[in-house]
Structure formats: structure tokens, C-alpha cells
């Protein structure tokens, strides 16, 4: 199985290369079509036309578009994504600095979405045919229609302002240090033995992660329920019943495992969407991740930074899809045989 997995991963990574090239070229062209002048914007407002022209030449913006892309691509392959216009810092460094916080947030949100989604899906299925089914169905539809930023505001109001149970700004409480080892604060705080920082970081992560998780859990919930309906039509469920197995054991021991495969595929796709959903949630909770950075970059028309972040989103989504496909192989014996 390991050989099969390695083959799959290598194949996936190889196929990611042309995808990344196409995405980066598209991103590059779209951003260059926007009516903004990166050369003028990278200089003070009272720069002269001559100074702007000199800057344009220095940035290679006087070259034809394909050549500009080639220059950018060469730099990107060497880890140089250009300098942020607004922050005057290396765009790649800014992304590297903020990416771990976003991954941490998205991973926690996904865990919450999975727990709520799978639990909710099982509950919805369990309530089938009962008087509570329409009510549960309605509740899942209502949940499905609430976007992540609205969850963010609802949770902030209830748990932050009204009840004052949880903090809603930043990553840790004022006064606590921010250890930097890997960039992942939860891990870093444990590595340096600061459990107070770990607990504070967890408390700060609850609301934004819950806002994202709640927004994505209903999809998982409904797909799992639908998959369970399909699985329950299979012969082996009937046979399990004939063998006298309890409904609970049939559901959890047999049906759930098979029904979870399509749910897993969906979760992989959802993770990409959830990752982009961090944008507004990070702004609402002053969370120092890549989404927050992206919002600023767009506001400032900071093209090098937008490009670096956009490409990073693409890489992350491709990696997640590869991971999900690998997990699918592990969980689905049919694929291993093939």
C-alpha cells in the first residue's frame, strides 16, 4: 500500500506543476490588466513622471507581458516573489510569516466542522422517519445558509461581548509572549513549555475556528446523511440485520465507514473553500494570518503580495487534495486492489 501511496503522491505532485504554472500565469495576467500602476504606487505620491518611468524600467514593467511573467517566474522559482508595495518587505517572507497562523486556524476549524458535521449527520440519519426529522432538516438548512462571517459576528457578540467568556482579538492575551519556533503558536507554546500561552492561544482560537467550522459543518452533515441513505440500501445492511446486529452497531460499525468515503472527498474540497473563508474571519477577530494580509493587499492594490498569497492558496489546496486522495486510498480497499 505504501508503494501505491507514494506513486499516487508523486503523480499528484507532478500534475500540480502545470496547474501551478497555469494558475500563476492567469493570476499574473489578471493582475496586470487591472488599471493600477505598480511602479507609481511603489513610490511616494509626489514622485515625478521621470522617477516613475525609471521605477517602471527597474521593475521590468516596460517589457512585454510574457517577458514580465518569465522574470517573475524565475524569481518565484528562486523563492523571490518580489517586494510588497505597501509594506516594502519581501512578499514571500510576509506569506511565510502569516501562513502558519492561517493553517492552524483552518485545521482547527476543519476539526470542528468534521466533529459537528459527522455527529450532526449521524443524528439527522438517526432521526429519519421520526416527528423530529422535518425540524432537524430545517435546522440543518438554516445552518447551511449562515456564512462564516455572520457566524463570526454572532459568536463575537454572544461569547465575547454579552457573556464575556472568550477573547476575540489576536492570538494570545496581552502580556503573554509569542514563542517563535515553527510559526504554529499552539505547537510552539508546547515546545517551549509555556502551557499558559498554549491555553491562551486555545481560548483565542475557539471563536474564529468555531465560526468557520459552523459554516462548513452543515454540508458535511447533509452529505453524510445522504450517503447513509444510499448505504442502507446495500445488501450487507440487510444481512447485518438478519444476523441480529443492533441498529447502532450497523450504523457505526458498518454503514458509517462506507458512507464516510464520499464525505471525506467532500471535506477535501471544503477545506479549500474553508481556507479562503479565513479572509473575513481573520479581519473580524484581528487574527494575524494570511487572510488578514490578503485583505490589506487587495485594499492597497499590492500586486506582488496578492500574487504571492494567491499562489500560496493554490499550493495549499493542491496539497490538501493530494492528502485527501491518499487518505481515500487508505480507507477504500477497492482502490488499493486496482
Amino acid at each position: 500500500m505504501i508503494a501505491l501511496l507514494l506513486t499516487l503522491i508523486v503523480r499528484r505532485l507532478l500534475s500540480a506543476v502545470p496547474i501551478l504554472l497555469i494558475v500563476s500565469a492567469l493570476l499574473f495576467c489578471v493582475l496586470r490588466i487591472l488599471p493600477v500602476d505598480p511602479a507609481a504606487m511603489s513610490l511616494p505620491p509626489n514622485a515625478t513622471i521621470e522617477e516613475i518611468e525609471a521605477q517602471r524600467r527597474a521593475m521590468g514593467l516596460d517589457q512585454p507581458l510574457p517577458q514580465q511573467y518569465a522574470i517573475w517566474l524565475r524569481g518565484a522559482l528562486h523563492g523571490d516573489f518580489g517586494r510588497s508595495i505597501a509594506l516594502r518587505r519581501d512578499a514571500g517572507e510576509l506569506v511565510a510569516q502569516t501562513l502558519p497562523a492561517t493553517i492552524q486556524l483552518a485545521a482547527c476549524a476543519m476539526a470542528i466542522a468534521a466533529i459537528l458535521g459527522l455527529g450532526g449527520g449521524l443524528l439527522l440519519f438517526h432521526l429519519r422517519g421520526t416527528v423530529l426529522e422535518p425540524l432537524a432538516d430545517l435546522a440543518s438548512i438554516v445552518l447551511l445558509s449562515i456564512p462564516e462571517f455572520l457566524w463570526g459576528l454572532i459568536l463575537l457578540f454572544v461569547f465575547g461581548v454579552l457573556l464575556q467568556w472568550l477573547p476575540f482579538t489576536g492570538q494570545v492575551a496581552p502580556g503573554l509572549p509569542l514563542p517563535h519556533v515553527t510559526g504554529f503558536l499552539l505547537l510552539d507554546s508546547l515546545l517551549v513549555g509555556r502551557f499558559d500561552v498554549f491555553l491562551s492561544a486555545c481560548r483565542h482560537l475557539v471563536l474564529p475556528a468555531l465560526a468557520l467550522g459552523l459554516a462548513f459543518s452543515p454540508t458535511i452533515m447533509r452529505v453524510l446523511r445522504s450517503s447513509l441513505f444510499d448505504v442502507y440500501l446495500e445488501d450487507y445492511i440487510v444481512q447485518a440485520r438478519l444476523r441480529g446486529l443492533s441498529e447502532g452497531r450497523i450504523l457505526l460499525g458498518h454503514a458509517f465507514k462506507n458512507a464516510s468515503l464520499p464525505t471525506l472527498t467532500l471535506a477535501g474540497v471544503q477545506f479549500g473553500i474553508l481556507f479562503s473563508g479565513t479572509l473575513l474571519v481573520e479581519v473580524i477577530y484581528s487574527y494575524p494570518g494570511m487572510g488578514n494580509l490578503m485583505v490589506d493587499a487587495v485594499r492597497n492594490a499590492d500586486l506582488p503580495l496578492i500574487q504571492a498569497i494567491g499562489l500560496t492558496y493554490c499550493v495549499v489546496v493542491l496539497l490538501i487534495n493530494t492528502a485527501v486522495d491518499s487518505l481515500y486510498v487508505v480507507l477504500n480497499p477497492k482502490l488499493r486492489v486496482r
Binding site: M41, Q97, F157, F168
Partner: protein, 509 residues
């Protein structure tokens, strides 16, 4: 399901509801006497303070770095790192004497070498600093001793002292930057200010710790944490819940609500920021009647009442009350009937309106888009049909440079010095990129004032220019902007006329 409730409206509503329900809980958080948490709307763009002109970041820079000269709360220029200065009558050189008791946070003594490095060598090195433009007239800085130097300008620089206390003019350490490199300086900035940077997390938090070796008055609070909270409604929620002790730039309605809250104090303070309509001198606005009609048609008091709770002061000139160029006796009246008369002289009426373009930002300053929409309606009443276009602030300079702005643009202009050169001088100088008004007559008057070194003569000239510009429809000053401040009642601060909220002036009582 479609949600029609806007995010911002929802949170404001939520915070308002919380005011009644959770007030006792909100006040439960007691801050220590030696620490305070501030909710601030923007991060610094970079920790190189000479790099970018960002007005909102100045109070933070002023905590970590010092400026050669400073301003008192009424904006009077006062000594700082420079203890004495003398601008020659022709404005082409300025002798300065620095303090001899100032050290950077790393222990290095500040000298004229640092002064020369900051205001000449860094700029000449082509580092693309914004200060390169403010100090482009500096030809040389002659060092006479570790505390004495003379700045030599290639043209009269009458506002050089004012610029010593303005955007980007912060002393940086030569030895440290040259030894450690610029990247290290930006990561671990070293200044001479009342606080040193203890911790920084991009877009999230700035932690300042008191510099106990500071040469001037020591900060009252030992540790100030600045939480970067960009969403105004989230800043409201943070102060409401006690997660911050002090915040600024919350919506006016919220500030007015907080005025009635026990334990909290809220203020709306007018500052040296002007909201104006920038004009072009051509297209449909080549006609002076149309320009003046556009001005007479605007009810500024109504705008102030509707969008700033009446706290924003209606203006008739491009200067704020109390600043040197202000004309307290001059008033440009709101008179829609006169506006109609002026338009009629040019054969326009409500039935045959003059058509103009009107650019505005949306969200660049409080209620900008709403103000623009209100003005469009006021104009419509007299016979001006404006096509409202939303532009990104990031694109403003490019559009202006390319002569692509429409006849009118709603704009907010910040001038922390209060000096008239940086109000009407910059706004009406055709050679500068801050206004679409390009006209030889007014342009020549401005350029003459740029070369006038005598202070009294210069100020008198600007007063005359301001009246002339408004009477000729070259600009439409609207309102003096306000800053909203909400704080714990026992957390005081020093109010500056330019809206600075300096961490070093915060104090618990």
C-alpha cells in the same frame, strides 16, 4: 436564504444591545496601573519610520522614535532632539543644535552623525524613502560638532522646521543600521523614543515597554499593548467587553452612545483634518459660475449633523480653526437660490442641468460615500447632475497624475502641523500631486509663497490665498474632521489638536 442585515449594522446593533445587558460585566475588567491595552485601527506599514508617510501610524512611531522637533498639544513647534534651531531669513540654510543627553534604545549616543544619516545619507543612498521627497531640497548637512550641524538647502525651505515635526521625520541610528543591516533594523527597530518595541506581530499586536532611560518626561504607563483591530465595529465590541481600555475611530453614533455609559468616557474631537471637494479648472468646471454654484449648494451644517453628530465644524477655507492660516471672519454661505442664479447665468437649470463627474472613496474616511451621495442630491436641487464614481484611494494619485479625475473629488486631507503651506499650499500647487486643480493664476501665487521664508509674510500670504481660492471656486472646503475616542473613565490622555493619541501621554487616575 439571503441575509439583508449588513455585517457592520449587525455588530453595532449587537453592541448596543449588549450595553444594556452586560454593562456590569463589561466594567468588570480592571486594568493594572502599569499596563493599558489600546484598540488601534491600523498597523504600521513598516518599522522603518522614514519609509512611508502614513498619518495613522504617526502616534505609534512617536512612541518608539523621536522627531528632531515636536509639537505641543496646540501644535506650537517645540524643541525635542533639536534644542535650538535657526532658519536663515532667505530660507536656504538652517543651523541646529542637538541635545547631548539622548541615547538610542541600544545605548548608542545620538549625535549629528545620526542626524546627517537620517536626513541626507539615507535619502541620497536611493533607498526610496518617502522622506526623499520631503527633504529633496537638502543639499548637504555640515557637521560642526557632535551636537551642532547646518542643513544646506538648494532652494528656500521655509517650512523646514515644521517638516522636522511632520511625517516620516524620525531620527534613526546610523551605527546600528549600518552595522546590523536594514532588514534587521526593521525587525528590531531601535529609536530614542519614550517606549521601546518589546513585541510585534504583524496585523495583530504591538507591545511597547517604557524606556526608563528616556531623556524627556517618562511615560506614565510601563507597558502599552496596541491591539490592531481594523473593523470599527470590532473596536466597539472590544471596548464594550473590556478587552481594550482605550480605542479610537469608532462610528460617531457609537461614541455618542458611550458618552452615556458608566465607566467609559467618549469624545468627538475636531482635528486638523479637512474634508473637502477638490475641483478641476477645466471641463464643465472651466466656468467659474458653475464652480461657485456647486459650493453654494452644499449645506455643510446638515452634512455635519447627519454624519458626524454635529461635531464636525463646517469650513469656509482650507484651514482648521486655531491653525495659523484660518480666517475666522470669512464665511462662504450656503445659498441654493444664489447657486441657481449663478447656474442660470451660464444657461443651466434644474430642467437643463450641468453634467459633471464626482469621484469618491468608499470607506477611506468615515461616511465618505454617504457624504458624496448627499452632496449629489443637494446639487440636483439646483441644477447640477453629478455622476458619482467610486475610486480606490490607492488609485487616486495615479488618476490625478494621468489627469483622469473628474470635475470634483471628495477628499480628506490631513495636516498634523496645521501650517497653511501643507493645507492650501499643497492642495493648490499645480506642481504637486495632491489636487487636480491645475491653474496658472493660483499656481503662481502658491509658488511665490513656497519661496517666502519670512513667517509672518508667508502666513499673511496664505490667508489671502485661501480667501481668493474659495472665492474663485478653486476648492470647496466642507468640514473639519473629528476623531472619536472611547476610553475607560480613569484612563486619561493628552489631547492634541491634530488628533494624535500618544501612548506616552496615557495615564491611569
Amino acid at each position: 436564504m439571503a441575509f439583508k442585515l449588513k455585517r457592520r449594522s449587525f455588530l453595532q446593533l449587537a453592541a448596543a444591545a449588549a450595553a444594556g445587558v452586560s454593562a456590569p460585566l463589561g466594567r468588570a475588567v480592571a486594568a493594572g496601573n502599569d499596563a493599558a491595552t489600546v484598540g488601534w485601527p491600523n498597523d504600521v506599514p513598516t518599522w522603518d519610520p522614514n519609509q512611508r508617510f502614513t498619518p495613522d501610524a504617526q502616534p505609534i512611531f512617536k512612541a518608539v522614535f523621536d522627531q528632531p522637533l515636536d509639537q505641543d498639544p496646540s501644535l506650537k513647534l517645540i524643541p525635542s532632539l533639536i534644542k535650538a534651531w535657526n532658519l536663515e531669513p532667505d530660507g536656504t540654510s538652517m543651523a541646529v543644535e542637538l541635545r547631548d543627553d539622548v541615547t538610542f534604545h541600544n545605548g548608542d549616543t545620538m549625535t549629528t552623525e545620526d542626524f546627517r544619516y537620517t536626513f541626507l545619507e539615507r535619502i541620497k543612498a536611493g533607498l526610496k524613502l518617502d522622506t526623499a521627497n520631503s527633504w529633496k531640497k537638502v543639499d548637504d548637512i555640515v557637521i560642526e560638532s557632535p551636537t551642532k550641524a547646518t542643513m544646506k538647502f538648494n532652494a528656500p525651505a521655509p517650512t523646514a522646521p515644521q517638516w522636522m515635526a511632520f511625517l516620516g521625520s524620525y531620527m534613526v541610528p546610523k551605527k546600528y543600521i549600518e552595522g546590523q543591516g536594514l532588514d534587521n533594523f526593521v525587525k528590531n527597530p531601535v529609536g530614542t523614543g519614550p517606549y521601546r518595541l518589546a513585541e510585534y506581530e504583524l496585523n495583530s499586536r504591538i507591545v511597547l515597554e517604557r524606556n526608563d532611560k528616556y531623556w524627556g518626561p517618562k511615560a506614565k504607563i510601563g507597558r502599552v499593548t496596541i491591539e490592531i483591530i481594523k473593523d470599527p465595529s470590532a473596536r466597539v465590541a472590544a471596548i464594550q467587553s473590556g478587552q481594550t481600555d482605550f480605542t479610537v475611530n469608532v462610528p460617531v453614533r457609537e461614541a455618542q452612545r458611550f458618552e452615556r455609559e458608566p465607566g467609559l468616557a467618549a469624545e468627538l474631537d475636531p482635528i486638523t483634518r479637512v474634508i473637502l471637494i477638490q475641483m478641476r479648472a477645466d471641463l464643465a468646471f472651466a466656468d467659474k459660475n458653475v464652480r461657485l454654484a456647486a459650493h453654494h449648494a452644499i449645506d455643510k451644517a446638515a452634512l455635519s449633523k447627519a454624519f458626524y453628530g454635529g461635531a464636525a465644524v463646517p469650513l469656509s477655507v482650507l484651514a482648521t480653526p486655531g491653525s495659523p492660516g484660518y480666517l475666522p471672519d470669512f464665511s462662504f454661505k450656503y445659498d441654493p437660490a444664489l447657486a441657481k442664479e449663478l447656474l442660470a447665468k451660464s444657461n443651466f437649470s434644474t430642467a437643463n442641468p450641468v453634467k459633471i463627474g464626482f469621484a469618491t472613496t468608499n470607506g477611506q474616511f468615515p461616511s465618505d460615500y454617504d457624504i458624496a451621495r448627499a452632496i449629489v442630491q443637494m446639487w440636483k436641487q439646483v441644477g447640477i447632475e453629478a455622476d458619482l464614481q467610486v475610486i480606490e484611494y490607492a488609485k487616486y494619485f495615479e488618476l490625478n497624475r494621468g489627469n483622469k479625475l473628474p470635475e470634483t473629488t471628495l477628499y480628506s486631507w490631513d495636516n498634523a502641523t496645521g501650517d497653511p503651506e501643507i493645507f492650501s499650499g499643497y492642495q493648490l500647487n499645480p506642481k504637486m500631486p495632491f489636487s487636480p486643480w491645475k491653474d496658472e493664476d493660483i499656481g503662481n501665487r502658491v509658488l511665490a509663497l513656497f519661496g517666502t521664508a519670512d513667517y509672518d509674510k508667508r502666513i499673511a500670504g496664505y490667508k489671502e490665498l485661501e480667501r481668493y481660492a474659495v472665492e474663485n471656486g478653486a476648492t470647496v472646503p466642507l468640514l473639519q474632521s473629528v476623531i472619536t475616542v472611547v476610553r475607560k473613565k480613569n484612563l486619561a490622555f493628552t489631547k492634541y489638536a491634530n488628533g494624535w493619541v500618544l501612548p506616552q501621554t496615557l495615564r491611569w487616575s
